[in-house]
Symmetry: C2
Subunit: 307 residues, 2 copies
């Protein structure tokens, strides 16, 4: 899947991913009204609104981008119907040829991580049948439990040719509390980065590993160091746009081949119609606003990369 992701990045000339993290407050009233009319002001109504919202954004951006990253929390908060919308979104994005990065930040002891890996990336057996319950292409993983919590995910990636992005240095303000703690003069995130590189060696695609890392756009200097520590790992870079990262900050997340990083924007794209720059589209044409925001993001990043 890392090879497919890279091929699609080259094809679209867009090292970006659209974060499908639909808060109800992002969804235009006309979409919510229609969904609530059909399914009531219920969890199913919320899920329907999310699904219709996602669909329109995907329809307006799929030809421009290689990948999407649905954040499962935004669906899980609406219970079973919400998770059904998560699954429907994954399936629809696959139909459109997009790579799907499930942003779930799962991670547990070995046997439990194995269950998450089966459900999200692999398959489960029931009697004589097998099923692929969520079937994302990549999954984000939390490394706090160490190698035996990550290995079951890596094993499934090897079998299924799928991929991971492991949290190394997250984009949020307090990420440093633990991740920056110095160990023999070096921050914890460097140790995590070294293990990501090591885990990745056993999971190589053609030119990059199936095991990548998450490093926040909000910490460009750390991105520069981590780029060197994990030369074969793709870096998923959240924090662009609404969280404060800009294209110019991102140059060092990339390798000299122009590859090695994929930059996520969520709110900045999916709620673009709420920004002054795209207000002209209005809530009715929110999909077009998202498309314009994607075009601007691609320009910003490629401009910074000198492409």
């Amino acid at each position: 899947m890392i090879d497919k992701l890279i091929a699609k990045i080259k094809e679209t000339k867009a090292p970006i991913v659209v974060g499908l993290d639909p808060m109800l407050s992002y969804i235009p009233e006309h979409i919510k009204e229609k969904a609530f009319e059909e399914k009531g002001e219920t969890l199913a109504g919320a899920a329907e609104a999310i699904w219709q919202f996602n669909k329109e954004i995907v329809d307006h951006t799929a030809d421009l981008i290689p990948a999407v990253k649905p954040q499962i929390a935004m669906y899980e908060q609406f219970g079973i119907p919400g998770l059904q919308a998560f699954k429907d979104t994954i399936d629809y994005c696959h139909e459109k040829g997009l790579v799907v990065i499930g942003d779930a930040k799962r991670g547990d002891i070995g046997s439990t991580s194995a269950a998450y890996a089966a459900g999200h990336l692999g398959s489960v057996a029931v009697g004589s049948n097998t099923f692929r319950p969520f079937d994302e292409d990549f999954l984000t993983v939390n490394p706090y439990l160490g190698t035996d919590g990550v290995k079951p995910f890596a094993d499934v990636c090897r079998e299924e040719k799928k991929g991971l992005f492991i949290l190394v240095k997250t984009s949020n303000p307090s990420s440093g509390e633990f991740q920056d703690k110095l160990i023999d003069g070096r921050p914890l995130y460097e140790y995590v980065g070294e293990l990501v590189a090591q885990w990745g060696e056993g999971c190589m695609g053609e030119s990059y590993s199936r095991i990548g890392a998450v490093v926040g756009a909000t910490y460009p200097e750390m991105g520069k160091i981590l780029r060197k520590i994990m030369p074969k790992s793709y870096i998923l870079v959240p924090g662009y746009g609404a969280q404060g990262g800009r294209g110019a900050d991102l140059v060092h997340f990339f390798n000299e081949d122009g590859l090695g990083a994929i930059v996520n924007s969520s709110r900045g794209i999916i709620a673009a119609y709420k920004q002054e720059a795209y207000a002209k589209f209005g809530p009715e044409r929110f999909g077009e606003a998202s498309r314009a925001a994607v075009e601007d993001m691609i320009k910003d990043i490629n401009g910074a990369l000198g492409l």
Copy 2:
């Protein structure tokens, strides 16, 4: 909810929690056959088998124990039907008066943690209605992202009087890779423990905080130190039984008031009928085997505590 948990521990004289982590391989054939007959060898069939299995174990143990801890991964791996079985299990355990600890190990940037907190512990608004999608009483949380990833969970706990168990030192073999790294001569888990204590100060119940910690039974010496660092935090102790922990190892996880810790066993209880000690019950009477295993676990732990 911490006050209810403590009251129930005193009432049952059982500082234990049964981990409802049903692997299909634990479920007796007669349960699976019936479920597959009704719903086919499908995800729905697997979910039905899990639900019937859980129900029988809860029916046979609810009067002996204060709490259960369903591990969401074991349900999530069976997709939407699996998650419905998770929700049904929570509701059924509530009907039986049990405290439910959702073992989900969620944790993300602030806005995302807020969505998980709403979905698992709090409520979500849809139009003019509000819903409590999963409605666990406690949730396990991964602290790797630091304070702003934990705060939304703590906020909901304060509002809803619910609780958290934050991963400090996990029970798995490689937990030390990052958690034991020395910072100025002290391991990372101590720093995490100090923050748990600090976060907990703003979330006090009557005698203990609503913010507890996870510390593995497999690391009793570390448990002893962490007990002192977090005097007001309940410690959820996984790793008893199948993972290697014994009652005698657990004494120092408790405070002098005989409270402060709750010990989890999953496989050791729910798959008891597969152990030699309980083989006499056979797969048909697996619920009774689980009950006997609960009684033995209570004896082991209370014996070690001199009760």
